[in-house]
């Protein structure tokens, strides 16, 4: 049986609406939150969102919505956050 990766490996799930809105599921926590950069920890990696006017519309234990002008989304191994 082939299960989706987010169910099988608990991978992070990102849904982007253009560059204005990101819906992130299966995340673990927030490492950094500024208007230009948000770093989110996920299983085995961290997610780095760069842009301007970034804002967390809401967050709960399950999902998080980021709005603003997103310029880039990049993955980094855990522990390699500072750049």
């Amino acid at each position: 049986m082939k299960l989706p990766a987010d169910v099988q490996y608990n991978d992070v799930l990102i849904r982007a609406s253009g560059n204005r809105e990101l819906l992130i599921e299966n995340y673990k926590g927030i490492l950094l939150y500024t208007a230009e950069e948000i770093v989110i920890t996920c299983k085995g990696l961290s997610l780095r969102i760069c842009g301007c006017d970034l804002k967390i519309a809401y967050f709960s234990g399950y999902d998080m919505k980021v709005t603003g002008n997103v310029r880039s989304i990049s993955y980094r191994s855990n522990g390699d956050v500072c750049c």
Binding site: Y27, I30, Y33, A35, K55, A57, Y58, F59, S60
Partner: protein
């Protein structure tokens, strides 16, 4: 929308968290599934919205991360009630007024007529209010179909009627005469009799025995077509009699008296410029007039405008105010010249003739003469008209009896 309503119902706050480790504090909130929204970063921490109860459950994590929270704004019903807890009378008044409004919404407070042309809405309204539905009737007791039937019976001009109850308003939609009803056919045995004195000019018998013939002079009540049918044998003796409802068309010429007059001397109202206004408050049939301005003139016209209190279009209430305007006038003696009076009489006569023609009455001759007597101009005489002169009259024999015979 639902989410907003729930938040408003349970209450929510806008707060600022600041201190040593904002991100750690956020992670603790995530871990313990505390929902926050509209998170904005500030110099010393972040500003967020969260539920009233969430704020209380954040307390241990604040302590753990050495953070502090400052509540900036409070929204929602719990905070509103707390702010207004000393205004119990206001809340009581509000609840009372709501209850009163609900109570008043159970009655009919307004009747509207729509679609009338020749019928006068006022007559219909007064008939409805006097006979069937006085204002203030419980809505649950209103029988719309019964009212429709009663109106159709009372006003023959109505060809279609529908009653609609919406809010506290009963709307009567009607159509007049556009769809003509089939002519009523008598089924009980009877005769066609003359409705007035006339000379018969046309006669068509559909059912029954003709008694009169063309050119006959008949008096009111004379039988024109009898509903009794005799069956004769070869010796001209009646062997069988049957009773039916006579049917046919009988037209005749008859003389209609006409009389009208115009007083040559008359009074005309000369209105003055100043108008006095005042307001009367009313509740059901009770009125209260706080102040009535003094009126010097003995003669005045009163114009009353009723403003009923209502909520939206269909929620009328049994109170409101009346705006009363009184315009004083003086009477001025005037007189018509004979030509003017004659023109008025002629105009009225033409209108009368036109009304007859609209009803299908044919004017054959006009013997109206205009003359002067006792300071007034009179139009007297007769109009010779041709019209239907039939009228059904039962002969008093019951249907079953008639059949047996």
């Amino acid at each position: 929308m639902l989410l907003r309503l729930l938040r408003a119902f349970f209450g929510y706050v806008r707060a600022e968290a600041y201190g040593f480790a904002p991100e750690r504090f956020m992670n603790l909130l995530i871990k313990h599934e505390i929902i926050v929204w509209d998170v904005e970063r500030t110099q010393r921490g972040f500003i967020f919205y969260t539920g009233r109860r969430n704020l209380l459950s954040m307390k241990p994590y604040l302590h753990k991360t050495n953070m502090k929270v400052k509540v900036l704004e409070k929204h929602g019903m719990p905070y509103f009630l707390r702010r207004n807890r000393k205004r119990a009378a206001f809340v009581l008044g509000f609840l009372l007024s709501m209850g009163l409004l609900y109570g008043l919404s159970l009655f009919v407070w307004e009747v509207r007529i729509e679609g009338e042309t020749s019928l006068v809405a006022e007559n219909l309204l007064s008939r409805i209010e006097e006979a069937y539905l006085p204002l203030g009737t419980l809505k649950s007791k209103v029988d719309c179909s019964g009212l429709e039937q009663a109106l159709r019976k009372d006003f023959s001009e109505i060809s279609w009627v529908s009653c609609e109850l919406k809010g506290t308003v009963l709307t009567v939609h009607l159509e007049e005469g556009s769809a003509t009803r089939p002519p009523y056919k008598e089924e009980r045995p009877g005769d066609l009799v003359a409705s007035e004195d006339a000379r018969i000019t046309k006669m068509v018998t559909r059912q029954g025995t003709p008694v009169s013939k063309l050119g006959d002079e008949v008096k009111k009540g004379d039988i024109l077509i009898s509903g009794t049918i005799y069956l004769y044998d070869d010796n001209h003796e009646v062997i069988e009699t049957s009773y039916i409802a006579a049917d046919g068309d009988v037209c005749g010429t008859c003389e209609l008296p006409y009389e009208d007059y115009v007083e040559l001397q008359y009074y005309r109202k000369r209105y003055r410029q100043e108008v006095s206004r005042h307001i009367t408050l009313y509740f059901l049939d009770y009125c209260l007039t706080p102040w009535i301005p003094r009126m010097e003139e003995a003669n005045y016209d009163t114009y009353t405008q009723i403003h009923k209190a209502r909520i939206f279009d269909y929620f009328y209430l049994p109170f409101g105010y009346k705006l009363i305007r009184r315009t004083p006038y003086t009477l001025e003696k005037m007189s018509y010249s004979e030509e003017e009076a004659k023109a008025i009489l002629n105009r009225r006569l033409r209108k009368k003739i036109k009304d007859f023609q609209e009803k299908g009455v044919e004017i054959m001759e006009n013997h109206v003469k205009i003359g002067k007597e006792n300071g007034k101009l009179t139009a007297k005489g007769t109009l010779t008209v041709r019209k239907s002169i039939t009228q059904f009259k039962e002969n008093g024999i019951a249907g079953s009896e008639a059949d047996q015979r």
